[in-house]
């Protein structure tokens, strides 16, 4: 058993930086790869080696298996960490790594395949006695079959693409009159999105909670569960805020969910880190939804409440080490909440907002962890996911975690692009949220409500400040005289302000 000397990270952004940190902490060299628009990205700056792998479109760079493996070979990397997204759940890639003699840090290709199709996963789980939402465990053959199944389990029902993800190919059906057109729509969307028309039925749980369980399995047959994460806060089927533990899970429920998750992992012959997702109904019944065969975006909340480092453990497991603890050694302490900081415009329906970051003030201090892929002066490219950073708050209890996060969000400032920072201030102050009353419909309901406006006295302050900025030469008295391009203008302001600042410091 020998630790890797060099690991290639087949990813970008905050997760590449997070894995780089883990490698450096373990004394392992890091090979980064980057597309043309990512040359100035933080993960390239922080790596020990960095190789260009092609143009901006992911299909020609981060998703290109031969290019990634070629860099692994040239650099002498012994293992590849895929992060999340991109190639992380691609069984062919895991397979190709094995054939190229490079260790894939994640589960085996066959475990991934077992979990890759939702219908096949359901079949396997049925055998293992895992509870899941009533419905079909295989694709619907015909409209008649759909009609019969729906009648048996009762409306509302959910149509889902077998190859699905991200809400694509999903349709909620309230009554049988809607079934036919919904089935056709789901199928054609599934075809378009995944190249696979297969669609199945589940009983729809209205406004369920989405709770998931983190597991770790070594290559010697040991599997443990760590903690659950409450991930009910979603927009467009994308998670926005996650926390651990869940406000509704007690020690007994945690043990039961954890044991089911371990059973799921065993049934799939699963190794490394993975997550079993459950739907939870208002009576706290939980149903197997799917297994994510990779590190999750939201893994930090589990790290904070268990005191473990999941990426360190992923690497140790991939290097053949046994888990350094057993189930009874794992305990949960305190509460952690993660905010996903996206480049999104809250005033424009959270549409992505890439661009140049002109000013960055980052929070720190007690109970605050920041995993970030951005820096001041960096231009967020238009080509990838808008996730910029994750701000994670820890506290003795949920209330303290919330209050520390609000404090840190108030310190956080990302200038030049729009971000969803203000959204989190709103969520964290919401009375229902603070009471722990969450479900997957929460966020849409909250956003449909009215936002409180800033006080008039703050506008007075803004007016005074704007005048002072102008007087110090930071803003030309007449905006029409400013340089046409935002960039040029900002740069010239900067230098004027610098002299102003120096003048101030000297008097």
């Amino acid at each position: 058993m020998r630790m890797f000397k060099k690991i290639l990270i087949a990813n970008r952004g905050e997760i590449a930086v997070r894995v780089i940190r883990a490698c450096h902490e373990m004394g392992i060299g890091v090979v980064a790869v980057y597309s043309d628009v990512d040359r100035a990205s933080l993960h390239v700056r922080k790596a020990d080696e960095a190789y260009p792998i092609g143009p901006a479109p992911a299909s020609e760079s981060y998703l290109n298996i031969p290019k990634v493996l070629d860099v692994a070979k040239r650099s002498g990397a012994e293992a590849i960490h895929p992060g999340y997204g991109f190639l992380s759940e691609n069984a062919k890639f895991a397979q190709a790594c094995g054939e190229a003699g490079v260790k894939f840090i994640g589960p085996t290709a066959s475990a991934m395949e077992a979990m890759g199709s939702k219908t096949r996963a359901r079949q396997a789980m049925e055998k293992a006695g895992v509870p899941f939402v009533p419905g079909t465990s295989r694709g619907l053959e015909s409209f008649e079959e759909a009609w019969q199944v729906a009648a048996r389990i009762g409306y509302p029902i959910m149509l889902k693409a077998a190859a699905g993800g991200g809400g694509k190919g999903m349709r909620l059906v309230h009554a049988r009159e809607q079934l036919k057109s919904a089935l056709e729509a789901a199928r054609s969307e599934a075809e378009r999105s995944f190249g696979d028309r297969e669609v199945y039925i589940e009983k729809a749980i209205v406004n369920p909670r989405h709770i998931e369980m983190q597991i770790l399995a070594d290559e010697h047959g040991n599997t443990v569960y760590l903690s659950e994460r409450e991930c009910s806060l979603q927009r467009r089927h994308q998670k926005v805020l996650e926390e651990a533990p869940s406000p509704i899970v007690d020690a007994d429920m945690r043990r039961r969910m954890g044991e089911v998750a371990v059973r799921v992992a065993h049934a799939a012959g699963y190794t490394n880190a993975g997550t079993v997702e459950f739907l939870v109904d208002p009576e706290r019944n939980f149903y197997f939804l799917e297994m994510n065969t990779r590190l999750q975006v939201e893994h930090p909340v589990t790290e904070l409440v268990t005191g473990l480092d999941l990426v360190h453990l992923q690497i140790r497991i991939a290097a053949g080490e046994k888990l350094p603890f057993q189930q009874e050694d794992i305990s949960i302490r305190g509460h952690a909440i993660e905010c996903r900081i996206y480049a999104e415009d809250p005033d424009n329906n959270y549409f992505p907002s890439p661009g140049k970051i002109t000013l960055l003030l980052a929070p720190s201090g007690p109970g605050i962890r920041r995993d970030s892929g951005m820096y001041e002066g960096w231009s967020v490219p238009i080509d990838y996911d808008p996730l910029l950073a994750k701000l994670i708050g820890y506290g003795t209890d949920r209330e303290q975690a919330i209050s520390r996060l609000i404090r840190a969000l108030n310190e956080y400032f990302v200038g030049g692009i729009k971000t969803n920072i203000s959204l989190f201030r709103r969520i964290l102050r919401d009375a229902e949220f603070r009471a722990g009353q969450l479900d997957t419909g929460f966020l849409d309901r909250m956003l449909a409500g009215k936002e409180k406006k800033a006080a008039d006295s703050a506008a007075n302050v803004a007016a005074v400040a704007a005048g002072i900025f102008a007087a110090l030469g930071a803003t030309g008295a007449s905006p029409g005289e400013r340089d046409g391009s935002g960039r040029g203008a900002t740069a010239s302001l900067d230098s004027k302000w610098k002299s102003a600042s120096r003048r101030e410091a000297l008097h």
Binding site: N348, P479, G486
Partner: protein, 164 residues
């Protein structure tokens, strides 16, 4: 120095003087005890009568935003003595330039020069980070100019079209 600061359509008349590191300030005629230091570019540590504020200035495209703590204000600063700024203010009633709020790629152009458009009519579709955004006409009028083409890239603040 006298400035007219416009926030949310409301005008704030500001009379500012700065000498020997001290400020004198009147806001709409009322004297305020103001003390200000630029901590770093775009960051102002402001005290008004012993209340303390961290104020950030943000320049996105042509717009100036001023953040007081975590509250954002879209701000326009005019020098009332300047003809130019008055002229520009009048501009708002003439042709309207439609600008990109963020960088992206032009996926489709929906209108052509000479088209008559209603308020909210689509002008173009811009894609960024795998999402598509329809850019709409802010007013009824005639499309005077289209300054983009399908497949082209745009930056924040770029003028996409002009509606007369």
């Amino acid at each position: 120095m006298i400035y007219d600061v416009i926030i949310d359509g409301k005008n704030y008349r500001l009379d500012l003087d700065h000498a020997d590191g001290r400020w004198s300030c009147r806001l709409n005629g009322q004297a305020l005890d103001v003390d200000a230091v630029i901590a770093r570019p775009d960051v102002l540590s402001l005290r008004i009568a012993n209340k303390a504020y961290e104020v950030k200035a943000e320049h996105v495209a042509q717009e100036l935003h001023v953040w007081v703590g975590s509250a954002r204000f879209a701000v326009e600063v005019r020098d009332p003595r300047s003809l130019r700024s008055r002229a520009r203010a009048a501009d708002d009633h003439g042709p309207r330039r439609i600008t990109a709020a963020m960088p992206g790629k032009v996926v489709r152009v929906l209108a052509k020069e000479g088209d008559e458009v209603a308020p909210g009519a689509g002008i173009a579709v811009v894609e960024a980070m795998k999402m598509q955004n329809e850019i709409k006409s802010p007013k009824k009028g005639i499309v005077q100019k289209i300054l983009i083409h399908e497949g082209g890239a745009v930056n924040a603040g770029d003028v996409l079209a002009i509606v007369e």
